[in-house]
Symmetry: C2
Subunit: 338 residues, 2 copies
C-alpha cells in the first residue's frame, strides 16, 4: 500500500511538498492542514486536497469563508503514515507532541532546532541516518545547498576547510513586510555564523566557517564559496564532478544567465511550477582553482530546493527505498534536472 502522507502547514514549503507528493507513485496525499482560510486554502480546495483545520477553534473561519474542511489536524495525523510539518519556524517544535501522541513519524523543516529530532537530513549527504527514524529535520535551503556541494567534494578530494559567505535574499517575493531596502546587512554580525554548525548536523567532522549577510533581493540566495581541498584537481575536473550530480545545475558559459532573475526566467520558460529551481545553480565560469583552493558562486532557490529532499525523507523514515532509488524516483517524477 502507498505511503499515506499528511502535510501540516500549507505555505511556501508545504504547498510545494504536497504537489510533489501527489506525483509520487508510492505515496498518497491524505490532506493538508492550514491555520487560516486564505488564498492558499482556496488553492488546496481547488486542487482537491482534503483540507484540515490546523487550529480547532478556527473551524468557524473556514465555514464563514465557504471553504469545506475534512476535519482537524488531529484527524489528519491519525490518518497518515508520515506527517511533513511545514509550519513556520518554532511551530514544528510545538507540534511534536501531537505526532508522538499518534506515534506518527514526522519530518520538520530547517527552521527547527537540530536537537528537536533524531537526525537532520540531506538526501545526498546522510540519507541512511534517517532510515526508520521517528523525528527528522530536513535542513534549510542554504544547508541543503551546501550539503549537496560538499558531499561530492569531500568524497572525491577531501575537504580541508570550507569558508562560505552567504549573500541571503531579504525575504521571499511575497513577504512584503521584510527588508532590507537599499542596504547590505551583516546578519548575523557575530562570526562565524550558525550556518556552518548547521552543515555539521549533516557532516559532523567537516571544518566549515560561514558568514551571512542580507541584501534587498527576493529571488534566490547566493553563496560565495571557498573550499580548500586536500588535493589539487584542475577546475575542469571539479566542474565535471559537479556536472555529474543530479541536483546541481552547472550554468553554461555564454547562456546569458547573470543572476537570479535570469535563472528564474530560465526556469519559468521551461514550465517549472511556480518557476521553482530545485537544483543548486553553479556558474560554470566561476568554478576555479588557485592551488588547493576551489572558488565558485552558487545560487539557491530558498522556496523550493528542499522539496525533493522532503520527498526523499518520507521514503527514508518509512524505509520505502534506499538513497539512490529514492533520489532517482523523486528526480524523475518531480522533474529535477534541466
Amino acid at each position: 500500500m502507498n505511503v499515506q502522507v499528511a502535510v501540516n502547514g500549507y505555505g511556501t514549503i508545504g504547498k510545494r511538498v504536497a504537489d510533489a507528493v501527489t506525483l509520487q507513485p508510492d505515496m498518497e496525499l491524505v490532506g493538508v492542514a492550514k491555520t487560516r482560510p486564505n488564498h492558499e486554502a482556496e488553492l488546496a480546495e481547488s486542487k482537491g486536497y482534503p483540507l484540515y483545520a490546523a487550529i480547532e477553534d478556527r473551524i468557524d473561519l473556514f465555514e464563514e469563508a465557504g471553504i469545506e474542511l475534512a476535519g482537524t489536524v488531529d484527524e489528519l495525523v491519525a490518518a497518515a503514515d508520515v506527517v511533513v510539518d511545514a509550519c513556520p519556524s518554532g511551530i514544528g517544535a510545538e507540534n511534536k507532541s501531537l505526532y508522538e501522541d499518534h506515534d506518527t513519524p514526522a519530518l520538520y523543516q530547517g527552521g527547527e532546532d537540530a536537537d528537536l529530532v533524531d537526525t537532520s537530513f540531506n538526501a545526498r549527504g546522510n540519507f541512511a541516518d534517517a532510515v526508520g527514524a521517528d523525528h527528522v529535520r530536513v535542513v534549510s535551503c542554504n544547508t541543503t545547498g551546501l550539503s549537496r556541494l560538499l558531499a561530492p567534494l569531500e568524497a572525491e578530494y577531501g575537504v580541508e576547510k570550507a569558508r562560505v559567505t552567504l549573500i541571503r535574499r531579504g525575504g521571499d517575493p511575497a513577504q512584503s513586510g521584510r527588508g532590507p531596502i537599499n542596504d547590505i546587512l551583516p546578519n548575523p554580525v557575530h562570526l562565524p555564523s550558525h550556518h556552518g554548525p548547521d552543515v555539521n548536523t549533516i557532516f559532523p567532522d567537516l571544518d566549515i566557517d560561514t558568514l551571512g549577510l542580507k541584501v534587498p533581493a527576493t529571488l534566490m540566495h547566493t553563496h560565495s564559496v571557498n573550499v580548500t581541498l586536500e588535493s589539487t584537481p584542475d577546475a575542469d575536473a571539479v566542474a565535471e564532478l559537479l556536472e555529474g550530480e543530479s541536483r546541481i545545475f552547472l550554468i553554461p558559459e555564454g547562456s546569458d544567465i547573470d543572476g537570479a532573475g535570469a535563472l528564474k526566467e530560465f526556469a519559468m520558460d521551461r514550465g517549472r511550477p511556480r518557476g521553482d529551481i530545485w537544483e543548486n545553480c553553479i556558474w560554470r565560469e566561476s568554478v576555479s582553482m588557485e592551488g588547493s583552493d576551489l572558488y565558485l558562486f552558487q545560487a539557491i532557490h530558498q522556496e523550493s530546493d528542499v522539496v525533493p529532499e522532503n520527498v526523499d525523507a518520507i521514503r527514508a523514515v518509512t524505509g520505502a527505498a534506499d538513497a539512490e532509488e529514492s533520489i532517482a524516483r523523486t528526480n524523475e517524477t518531480v522533474g529535477v534536472g534541466f
Copy 2:
C-alpha cells in the same frame, strides 16, 4: 609657497577632493575643470572655485548657461604644481599626454590601469613609493579599504592568505541608470576577481583571492573578510590593533549600527559633509578568530574613502611631507576619525 593643485573632473571624487584641498594649510586650489555646465558646475561657481572648461569646444555651453569660466583645462594644468585627475575611468589615460606636455605631476583614480602610472598608491600601504613620482594612481575605494586593513595585519601578524568576498553596491545614490534591481549578480563571474591583483599593486607579495558580487544597494560596499594569519592572536588583540588605525572605525557593539544606512545616518548626524565616511567601518562584534583564521565584516563608502588618500598623494609626489606627517595633517584638517 603652498602647493598649487588643479582638479580635473568635478564629479563624485573631484568635488570632494577639491573641498579637501581647500582645507589644507599647505595647498591651494587653482581651480577645477568640468565638461558640462550642470548642477555641479554651478556648485563650483558658488563655492568660488575657478572653473575651467575640460573640453574646448564646449565653452559656449557654459556661456549659454551663464556660468563664468576662468579658462580651459590646458591653462588650469599650466598653472598647477600637481593635477588630480578625477575623470571617469579611462579618461584619465587620455589626459596623460596633457599632463606630460606641461611636465606636471598627475594623480589618477583607481579606474585607470595600473600600468598607466609609475606607482599605485595607498597612504597606509606604500606612501614612500610615490615620493617624487610623476604619475600616480590612487587605488579604488575597495582596494583602499583592503589596503588599510591588510597593512597592519601583515606588519603585526603576517598574512598567510587573504580571501575576501566584495558585496558591492550596484551604483552610487545619484546613478539612477544602474542596477541591479532585486537581484544578486556574481560580478565578475570569473574567479578570482581582479580586486586581488589590484591589492597586489600596493602589496606585491601578498597572497589574496577575491570574489565580487553586485546587489541592489547604493550606500556602501561591504566586504566579507577572511585572513589566514601567520600567528594566532585572539580577537580582542586584533580589534585593539585595528582600533589604533586612524582610518579604521571600529563600530562599537550595542550602537544599533546594523548596516550602511545606519552608518550614513551616524555620519550625517555628526555633520559630515555629504554624509561622507572616509574610514573603513568594521563591525567590532564581527571580528573573530578561528584558529589562525580572522573573520570580519567591513563597510566601505565608495564615494569618499579615497579623498584623504588623494590629499596624501599630493604631498607624496611633491615631497611636501612624509607618510606619518601627511596622514596626521589630512586627518586633522578633513576631520577623519569619529
